[in-house]
């Protein structure tokens, strides 16, 4: 079980998504850039040209390296590109949530939480 110390500093949401998803969520005021000289952003804008390695690195940074992130949001079609990482991710913090994007509606078949459900019922 996670202890109090594990999550008391986790105050930011992080997003990996396409430009529109990020714009929308930043409009809600979740965007954060840390003080210089780090200037670490809590979001990654992904387009067709973005390398899978870059997505994986961002996922790694948000879930493992940074200790101030409580929820990681990721567009489902981008999560598909690093599916093995998402499916093997078991940490309690941060929580990873897949969200729909403009061009790719939410598919429950792919959702990592619902995949967990199927595993529990032995499918």
């Amino acid at each position: 079980m996670a202890t109090q110390a594990d999550f008391k500093d986790r105050q930011f949401l992080a997003v990996i998504g396409d430009e529109d998803s990020i714009t929308g969520l930043l409009l809600a005021g979740i965007g954060h850039v840390t003080q210089p000289p780090d200037n670490q952003k809590n979001f990654l804008v992904v387009d067709n040209k973005t390398e899978t390695a870059a997505i994986e690195a961002a996922f790694e940074r948000f879930t493992t390296e940074r200790k101030d992130i409580g929820i990681v949001l990721i567009n489902q079609h981008i999560a598909d590109r690093i599916r093995h990482r998402i499916d093997t991710y078991t940490q309690a913090f941060p929580t990873v949530l897949e969200i729909p994007s403009k061009d790719h509606p939410y598919d429950p078949e792919k959702d990592s939480v619902l995949r967990r459900v199927r595993r529990l019922f032995g499918e």
């Binding site: 105050q11 929308g24 409009l27 979740i30 954060h32 929580t95 949530l97």
Partner: protein, 249 residues
């Protein structure tokens, strides 16, 4: 039915209720997100000249989060092991805390940078810098007092990310913002909490199943041992019988 099976059933029942909540929250998130995308598309369609696209070109490079998570739970009052909440702090206190959290060196640096900026940029700055300017302006008497008061008036508004895109933003963009805010403040933290609770119930179910399997194995072992004993006894009886038969013949 064994006690273990009953606990597993109870856990699964709770799990299915959580799954139902999760699915409902998912549906609301989908609705909010698609509304947000539609509003955003409409804002882009009717964009004024000069604005190419409401996107990353306009993001403030020094943005500070105005909506933050607080994680609680684990108490007896809630069934959930973790409870996520996302809230926007009070604008005034926020300006104060961000200002306090900053080193003095950075402040001095900002203040010198401040002087080089043109007045047009001033409208788009975040409140932290404005408060810093306040402190610097109060220390230098050459600055007129009126700028200080106008800066103070702007303070709560200027954290709004809408300002990145200009002062008079189109209605669809504001609608996109309100959809995003309800997704971030309401649905996403609840989804995260439910997902965390589901994970903890999954763990309990797996543990209970293991315990049940262990108990069944031990039962089986006992049964086998008993059977073996009985068979052993039978063999002894047979031997005795043989001996008796041998004696009589």
């Amino acid at each position: 039915m064994s006690a273990e099976t009953e606990t597993i059933d109870a856990l699964l029942e709770r799990y299915l209720a959580l799954l139902d909540t999760y699915t409902q929250l998912r549906a609301s998130l989908n609705a909010l997100q698609s509304a947000m995308y539609q509003h955003l598309a409409r804002a882009n369609f009717s964009a004024d000249r000069g604005i190419r696209y409401y996107g990353q070109d306009y993001y403030d490079e020094r943005m500070q989060a105005s909506r933050r998570i607080s994680i609680g739970g684990g108490s007896e009052a809630t069934t959930s092991p973790v409870l996520f909440t996302v809230k926007a702090p009070e604008p005034v206190t926020e300006a104060r805390t961000t200002n306090d959290g900053r080193g003095k060196d950075a402040e001095g640096k900002e203040a010198t940078l401040e002087k080089e900026r043109d007045p047009k940029e001033e409208t788009e700055r975040d409140p932290k810098e404005e408060t810093e300017k306040d402190s610097s302006s109060s220390s230098s008497p050459s600055q007129p007092a009126t700028t200080k008061t106008t800066d103070e008036k702007k303070k709560p508004k200027s954290t709004d990310p809408l300002r990145w895109f200009g002062i008079l933003t189109p209605l669809p963009l504001r609608q996109a913002q309100s959809s995003a805010i309800s997704a971030v403040e309401d649905i996403i933290p609840r989804l995260a909490s439910v997902s965390a609770e589901m994970a903890s119930v999954e763990l309990e179910v797996r543990r209970a199943r293991k315990r049940r399997a262990k108990a069944e194995k031990e039962k089986e072992k006992k049964k086998v041992a008993e059977l073996e004993k009985q068979i052993g006894g039978l063999e002894v009886n047979k031997n005795e019988e043989k001996q008796v038969i041998g004696l009589t013949s």
